[in-house]
């Protein structure tokens, strides 16, 4: 059982780390704001939850677990909201997404 939990959590960590890395690369390499946002937003939510779940698995029962759940809930709530608000005000702020491939080389 212990081993299984550790294994699962390791898998979670690796997946999460990969996702985060890809998000980081994305935010550096993508051509305009909205694509960057896409890279960041999507990976962020999933990767964060994966890592937190991984942590939960090693934490075992107790206050720590509860706090981790709280953090997870919090991030699940806020992160998409923040992204949403950001995208919205970026649109309002007259930042046009690149719709066609005209800019890419």
């Amino acid at each position: 059982m212990e081993l299984l939990l550790d294994l699962i959590s390791a898998v979670c960590f690796i997946l999460g780390a990969l996702l985060i890395l890809s998000g980081g690369v994305g935010i550096l390499r993508f051509p305009d704001f909205f694509t960057r946002m896409h890279a960041a937003g999507i990976t962020e939510t999933l990767a964060t939850s994966l890592i937190l779940i991984g942590l939960m698995l090693i934490a075992g029962w107790g206050l720590v677990l509860f706090k981790l759940v709280l953090i997870l809930l919090f991030i699940l709530l806020t992160s998409p909201t923040a992204s949403h608000a950001l995208a919205k005000s970026a649109l309002h702020g007259k930042l046009k997404p690149i719709l066609h491939n005209e800019h890419s080389k």
Binding site: F74, L77, T78, T81, H84, A85, K88
Partner: protein, 324 residues
């Protein structure tokens, strides 16, 4: 970690906005160095309150820095001169501290003298596990009173600088930008769930300070942050109806009073100023009680002071917007 800190700082020249990251970085630095309570505070202040105040001020003063129109030679010379002086001074400082006790050395004098008592005896003398809290609230409780007064002074100073219009409850004026509120339905709903959570969390931090990182100051800041979030989403007018600035002012003074009176009471019951041991028949219970009460005082003053300062700023910003 340290490399990031440096990289961060140099780019501060480029972007005013990023001082928030700086706060986060230095806070993580503090965690790495075991200073959890400090990290807690630095996160809330350096990454939270300070950039927020900064933003409101930027809203008033305008965002763009006016760069010098022509690159003046004199200014450039001055710049170079200052840089050189700085490098020299920095070098001197490094030289000057070459024979300091090594970083992290457990044998360094700082770890040897006063510190030992705090670490070895405070859990028994005070009866609470968080040594930072016991030093803060009991051994050096008087410094903390000073700290509360600093915030009080700052709040008073800010009030003195801005017009007293803040306390005049005007009628709920028609918002300048009405549709802007509808834009953020998602935000508002999420925040509606979050704000009570934040306030609850603040209370948890307030009373959990004896066992884990936290305490009156951190709780006060978090509480203030919750109210500030509300203010940002619903506008100052509405927030002022929820919490009246006049009440805040009274609360701000009240917190100081709670702290001061704890000291006076302990003085009256035969101990020295702020000696909590005399507050109850058992010294340890007395210490507990004292710390609990003064932390409450700290929390109240900090929360009220921070909210007051924020209200004063955003009132200034809104009235400026109204004029234009």
């Amino acid at each position: 970690m340290t490399a990031i800190a440096i990289a961060r700082t140099t780019d501060l020249f480029a972007a005013v906005m990023l001082s928030g990251i700086y706060g986060l970085v230095s806070a993580s630095f503090f965690v790495a160095l075991d200073a959890v309570d400090v990290a807690f505070t630095e996160a809330a202040v350096g990454a939270g309150i300070f950039p927020l105040l900064m933003l409101v001020v930027l809203g008033v003063t305008g965002r763009y820095e006016k760069t010098a129109l022509k690159p003046q030679k004199a200014a450039l010379m001055k710049k170079v001169a200052v840089v050189i002086t700085m490098v020299i001074t920095g070098g001197l400082l490094i030289l000057g501290t070459m024979d300091m006790p090594a970083f992290g050395d457990p044998e360094a004098p700082a770890q040897q003298h006063v510190n030992i008592r705090y670490i070895e005896q405070s859990p028994e003398e005070i009866g609470i596990p968080n040594m930072v809290t016991s030093v803060l609230a009991s051994y050096r409780g008087y410094d903390t009173l000073g700290e509360v007064l600093v915030i009080f002074t700052a709040a008073m100073g800010v009030l003195a600088l801005f017009s007293s219009q803040l306390f005049v409850t005007r009628k709920l004026s028609v918002k300048i930008k009405k549709d802007d509120m509808h834009d953020h339905n998602v935000l508002r709903i999420v925040s509606k769930i979050l704000i009570p959570l934040i306030l609850l969390f603040a209370f948890y931090v307030q009373f959990h300070g004896e066992y884990g990182p936290g305490g009156g100051f951190q709780a006060g800041v978090i509480f203030a942050a919750g109210i500030i979030l509300y203010t940002m989403l619903y506008g100052l007018d509405k927030a002022r109806q929820v919490i009246k600035p006049g009440v805040l002012r009274v609360l701000c003074a009240l917190g100081v009073f709670i702290y001061g009176c704890t000291g006076v009471v302990s003085m009256l019951s035969g101990g020295n100023f702020l000696d909590y041991s005399v507050l109850a028949s058992d010294p340890i219970i007395g210490q507990h009680l004292g710390i609990l009460v003064i932390e409450l005082g700290v929390g109240i003053t900090i929360a009220a002071g921070m909210i007051l300062i924020f209200f004063a700023f955003s009132h200034q910003a809104e009235s400026q917007l109204g004029e234009e």
